[in-house]
């Protein structure tokens, strides 16, 4: 896959932004307990920091009602290296994560008082947007910076209401040449993450044995972008390119497209709800003939 222009320290320095899914709706029904999951992930993060002294890690938590930064390795003020010990990743991270989860739960309570809970998906679009803004800052920081990439560790299913926002983030990542890797630990495959990894040149993996999560993380997702060209990483098992319709947010594989703004609808409408154009207003003779043919409603 193409790598970003050579404004790097060396080829193998990486900045890894990890988006951790903390959605309580998913974790309450998962076969892997959250504590075990965290131990896998923390060991993985430590191993990344060990690979190279100037590797950086940023952890963003994707909650059900909010997203927030949990850990940034460039900000930790621990002088552990002189003593021969690693910076104390665990205690800081765990404390902030616990605060975040409590806050998220509070928001959940507040929201469920005003509205009934409609969806159980996590806010992936929010954490992706935050990660991309952080990475842009790293790009602007000067001539030497590490190679950034994003790793999504997600278990909740896709929220079709986030489709547009996630696609925007994916294209922005593609333009900045930031690969989005996905490690999906839920039950069915996630179409959004498959598309994200396919379009940006990242790796999508759904581990089969969740007990060995650390092994999957360290063999597939730990390598930096330059070394990936020498490795055989898991190939895609098919990407689900289905879209979600703008009117009901269902996933559809055949739909109607407005020719003005390219919004997707599942049924034939008289007027486009996004751009307001009325369909089939005859202004030109040539177009109206073909238009009549197209307007025969098909379900």
């Amino acid at each position: 896959m193409p790598s970003a222009p050579t404004k790097l320290y060396a080829d193998d320095v990486s900045l890894l932004v990890v988006l951790l899914d903390t959605n309580p709706f998913f974790w309450s029904t998962s076969s892997l307990p959250f504590s075990k999951f965290l131990s896998h992930v923390l060991s993985f993060l430590n191993s990344i920091l060990l690979l190279n002294q100037i590797n950086q890690i940023v952890v963003i938590a994707t909650g059900c009602n909010s997203c927030d930064y949990i850990y940034d390795s460039s900000l930790s003020t621990n002088p552990g290296i002189e003593n021969g010990k690693l910076p104390a990743l665990c205690s800081e991270l765990l404390k902030k994560l616990e605060d975040f989860v409590t806050r998220d739960e509070q928001l959940n309570k507040q929201q469920s008082q005003s509205l009934p809970p409609t969806t159980t998906s996590s806010l992936l679009s929010g954490s992706l947007s935050m990660a991309l803004c952080y990475i842009q800052r790293v790009f602007r920081s000067g001539p030497l910076h590490p190679h950034p990439r994003i790793l999504c560790v997600q278990g909740s299913s896709d929220g079709p209401e986030q489709y547009v926002a996630i696609m925007n983030s994916i294209f922005s990542a593609q333009r900045s040449m930031v690969p989005i890797d996905s490690c999906y630990i839920g039950s069915n495959n996630s179409a959004f993450l498959q598309q994200a990894s396919y379009i940006t040149g990242g790796v999508y993996q759904k581990p089969q044995q969740l007990d060995g999560l650390f092994q999957y993380l360290s063999t597939v997702f730990a390598t930096d972008l330059h070394s990936r060209t020498f490795l055989q990483l898991p190939k895609s098992v098919g990407v689900d390119f289905r879209a979600s319709c703008f009117c009901h947010k269902k996933t559809i594989d055949m739909g109607f497209i407005c020719s003005v703004c390219l919004s997707i609808f599942c049924k034939h409408h008289k007027k486009c709800s996004t751009c307001g154009s009325v369909f089939g207003q005859a202004q030109s003779d040539v177009a109206s003939a073909s238009n009549l043919k197209r307007k025969t409603p098909e379900t």
Binding site: N65, L107, L123, N168, R242, A243, I252, T274, Q283, S290
Partner: protein
């Protein structure tokens, strides 16, 4: 052109007294007073002290004004993205393309900008198709067929950059006319000719060919690299295209990128309609199927039509079995959004040193650089996306 000399010729001799030496150019220190007026780039701050202009805020304010004017423009003139354009780019590879007035040669400059144009074209017209034709030794060759994937066009163009012989406008038009006649009637037929030569060597009557193109509703535009030629002007006038001659490389780039968005003339005539399309799934890497475009067994990634389950090789395309237009949702998702919840500037920086803007919906603060990135590239407000209670239940985003 040197404006300095132009001013001099107005005959204002009293200025000569202030200059050192002859009526040559001003010295650099003099230029800062006479031409650049450096005193105007000073500003007073709150306490009345002078300080140099804060370029960053100025640049940011200009940027915001530009965004706002673009968004108001976009809402008034409905920019149709669903226009299906079939465009042929004709590249002149005759002897004249080897001229060195563009560095390193006209042909290399044209190829570089055509590559950028191809990517921009597919970005702005996701449903359209493009083909490449070259003219060499008086004969027109079709380099690539009409297709929707930018990579194949770019690769073919970069592989075959040699020039020789004469250039023939009529042969190119005949060839393109033959291909464009086969496209469906709802598509718009366009030709963009990048002409380096100063003459054309034709086997027959080119005026007849021009009438033929006009009858088939082909809109031909020409960008000349050397000088204005009557026949090109006539062609463009007859078919309703635009004729321009590039003065230098950056002007050429501007002219060619002007053709990327749909031309205003056809945008007015196009009516909004709902087009039925399918979103196929990409098959796994190890699957084997007979593909409907090449009629042979293929291993690996292809797409399955949702209606008739036939396999196609690339998107966007029309399924050969059932006729459904197949597209991948990423193609459609590429549209520029108008300004959403326009962030307002905060007058006081607070305890952070730099200036910030805030989103009126989620009340989060963003630095100026993030604001520019969000509006130009990301099109999502990270604050609004990160709080569930702010996400509106409506489909539209504004």
């Amino acid at each position: 052109m040197n404006n300095g000399n132009g001013r001099r010729l107005n005959g204002e001799t009293e200025e000569d007294d202030d200059d050192e030496g002859s009526e040559g150019d001003l010295d650099a220190w003099e230029r800062t007073y006479a031409d650049e007026r450096s005193w105007e780039s000073l500003q007073e701050d709150e306490s009345g002290l002078l300080r140099p202009m804060d370029n960053k805020t100025l640049y940011h304010a200009q940027y915001r004004r530009r965004i706002r004017s673009l968004s108001s423009q976009a809402t008034t003139s409905r920019i149709q993205k669903g226009l299906i354009r079939y465009l042929y780019i004709v590249v002149d590879l005759s002897r004249a393309a080897a001229e060195m007035d563009y560095r390193p040669s006209r042909m290399a400059v044209v190829a570089k900008h055509v590559e950028a144009f191809i990517r921009e074209f597919f970005d702005q017209n996701p449903l359209s198709q493009l083909g490449l034709v070259t003219i060499k030794d008086g004969i027109a060759h079709c380099l690539t067929d009409l297709g929707g994937s930018p990579e194949s066009h770019v690769k073919a163009l970069m592989g075959k950059l040699e020039c020789s012989g004469e250039s023939s406008l009529q042969n190119a038009l005949d060839l393109v006319h033959g291909y464009l006649n086969q496209v469906p009637s709802y598509g718009h037929r366009e030709v963009l000719i990048l002409y380096s030569a100063l003459s054309t060597c034709d086997p027959g009557d080119i005026l007849e060919t021009i009438q033929k193109c006009k009858k088939s509703k082909m809109r031909c535009s020409v960008i000349g690299l050397s000088a204005e030629i009557f026949i090109c002007k006539h062609l463009c006038q007859e078919t309703g295209g635009s004729y321009s001659v590039a003065m230098d490389e950056s002007h050429f780039k501007e002219l060619i990128l002007e053709h990327a968005p749909p031309p205003p003339a056809i945008a007015e005539f196009a009516i909004a309609n709902l087009i039925k399309m399918g979103f196929p799934q990409r098959a796994a890497e190890s699957s084997i199927a007979i593909c409907s475009c090449h009629k042979e067994a293929k291993v690996g990634g292809g797409y399955t039509c949702p209606r008739c389950k036939a396999r196609v090789c690339e998107l966007p395309t029309e399924c050969r079995i059932c006729g459904l237009t197949l597209i991948s949702s990423p193609h459609l998702a590429r549209l520029p959004r108008s300004c959403f919840g326009c962030q307002q500037s905060l007058p006081n920086p607070g305890n952070k040193p730099s200036l910030r803007v805030a989103c009126p919906k989620c009340k989060q603060h963003f630095c100026l650089d993030c604001d520019i990135y969000i509006h130009e590239s990301l099109h999502n407000c990270p604050g609004c996306e990160s709080f569930r209670h702010l996400k509106s239940p409506i489909a539209t985003e504004e």
